[in-house]
Assembly symmetry: C2
Homo-oligomer: 376 residues x 2
């Protein structure tokens, strides 16, 4: 068998061997003290990564299930202001349309959040606000703290999708006034895809809506988590919990601040390479916004074709992401999430640099050397 | 580390090594031809086990997510007749209450379905019927074919939970007129928990309801499954798909008829042991109903305490199930699902026999010998 491709995507990300091997063991009973201890280990570490003392649950499902759990449990029949400056903001808007009166607070993908439009929605009575903290479709980090303050000022509930920031970037859910924060397993946690995590504030519990989907009913998760041993309401994806526990223990061992600094350093290296090549980062940021430190979105130079370039990179055993929807062909994206370290970044940048040349673009300078300077 | 406990539960069941090791490999991109081929392999084998030529999808979530997908996509605002003669029938009733006008067609747990009450509901205009084919909480197999005929006669849609029958017992979804059949990964497929499968008939597609939960929107699954490569709408639990593919290949290798015969033989052995001990099987069956061939529910003899007996069995490294809800302390249940074969059954029955004696009951005869006679 050929070696596995190196996935440098904004998720799923390569999974450390320790984490993968945790799944190879025999099934354990999900209504046993042993499983309860696995669940509790995960929650302990996750609370640190979320920056929260709130309740926190693990749902067997993808990040999208977590997004829907948030909206369905506190957004039904409510006025929901949905901040959209990328694909996942759009997804929260689509989900919100199924439950409440959703209002799109829109700006172009990869451009700053329209805070004036958000204020207008809040003044007009928005009861819930949704935000994607780190918008991977565009490589932009949105000002969650600022938006949290506005929500508090207008007494609105604040849902924050932290799927690609939590455990890889600084997140302070409680300090920022986040009522429901969401993340997924296959991003900065570097665990396998298939688990969604949600934290729930007291304010959110007080305003819980009736009749959420049965599978995503947060009150049922709270009830089962209170059992001894700690449980999930329905059969959980046991191997994914075993893997996630191992991933969480690795986060504890590395230390969260060191992990966040590593993510920052890896993305700095990618940004330096782009700059050396003479390419532009895609997001248009201001002082409230920042370039993502978990994925870097870079504009294609004129004439370089997406399929050709990513095809050439894949021939070298590496997979990077293109643009989604209307950004297809316009940008490429390099993930720096999870367990990613210098060797993967250097190999990826070397492959990108070669592919750029092959596809007809002459880099202004040596991006690989620039990145090595950051990493070394 | 101690050896893992032998789980003789009605799910989760022991997972063959081949299936577990399939999860240990590195993550693969879920939007790649390789993943598409994994998904397609699973669907091919599953269609055989479901007895269907209909569309079939895999949802990353537990069996309950599959149950909700069925009800939410064809039951919203409809008159739903929910057949309840055990815990999982009750769950479908609870889910149905969140979406439509649910009517309980009730009989005592473990007793035959009340067909007269069902006919009355259908005559009164029920548009959807829900049934649990094999009710593990009580060890009874319900007459799906008969109920399918009634649904067709009254032009009602038929949802069948086959979570603990599909891939372990004869299921003919198309022949029986099932519109949505559901199963889970951790039962007769002997794969890890965390995937739900649903098949959808043309009749169901024609009567699809608006506004299902976003994560469980079957139209989105259909659209993504039609992509090349075949995809899921949201990030799937990749390792569980890899494991499921391996489990499906094992089903093809064994052959479905041989697999079904093995389940029947294993449960026959357990039933013979119960009879030899002088104990009663819990279900009260008639000619339309049958004892489950994937789990055997046995009444405790007077004086034998559930905790004591199952505790004594656990000391021998084996876990069997007690009763759920009001049956707690009244019955014990032995699973014979998935990869279970003679050694596990013999060990379990030997442990039960010993525990019965230890807990103050004198078996009438040698149940282990009786079972060996069936298995040998």
């Amino acid at each position: 068998m050929e070696k596995e491709l190196l996935l440098m995507l904004p998720g799923p990300v390569p999974i450390p061997e320790r984490v993968r091997l945790a799944m190879a063991r025999q099934a354990i009973n999900h209504r046993s003290p042993e499983f309860g201890a696995v669940y509790a280990d995960c929650v302990r570490v996750m609370k640190t990564a979320f920056g929260t003392a709130n309740d926190l649950f693990i749902i067997s499902g993808s990040g999208t299930a977590g997004m829907e759990a948030a909206v369905a449990n506190i957004g039904r029949d409510k006025e929901i202001a949905c901040i959209v400056n990328g694909k996942f903001g759009e997804r929260l808007y689509k989900i919100s349309q199924r439950y409440g009166k959703a209002h799109e607070v829109k700006s172009e993908w990869g451009t700053p959040v329209n805070l004036e439009a958000l204020k207008a929605q809040l003044e007009a009575g928005a009861q819930v606000v949704t935000l994607v903290h780190n918008e991977t479709s565009a490589g932009i980090k949105n000002p969650a703290e600022e938006i949290g303050k506005l929500c508090r000022k207008h007494d609105a509930l604040f849902i924050m999708d932290g799927i690609t920031s939590i455990a890889g970037d600084v997140v302070e859910s409680d300090k920022w006034g986040v009522d429901i924060a969401i993340t997924g397993s296959q991003k900065c946690f570097a665990a396998p895809a298939g688990l969604a995590m949600v934290s729930v504030s007291n304010r959110a519990w007080e305003r819980l809506c009736k009749n959420p989907p049965y599978y995503l009913d947060l009150a049922a998760y709270r009830k089962s988590a209170g059992n001894k041993p700690m449980e999930t309401p329905y059969t959980p994806a046991v191997p994914l919990f075993l893997a996630m526990r191992e991933a969480c223990l690795m986060i504890e061992e590395e230390g969260l601040p060191a992990r966040i600094a590593r993510h920052q350093k890896m993305s700095n290296a990618v940004q330096s390479a782009a700059k050396a090549w003479g390419l532009h980062l895609f997001p248009k940021i201001d002082k409230l916004h920042a370039f993502s430190s978990t994925v870097t979105a870079i504009e294609y130079p004129v004439g370089v074709k997406d399929d050709e370039m990513r095809g050439a990179i894949k021939k070298m055993g590496i997979v990077i992401a293109g643009g989604q929807d209307h950004l297809k062909g316009k940008i490429f994206r390099i993930g720096s999430m999870g367990a990613v370290s210098a060797p993967e970044i250097l190999a990826t940048l070397a492959a990108v640099q070669h592919a750029l040349k092959k596809c007809g673009y002459t880099p202004k300078g040596d991006g690989v050397e620039a990145a090595a300077g950051v990493l070394g």
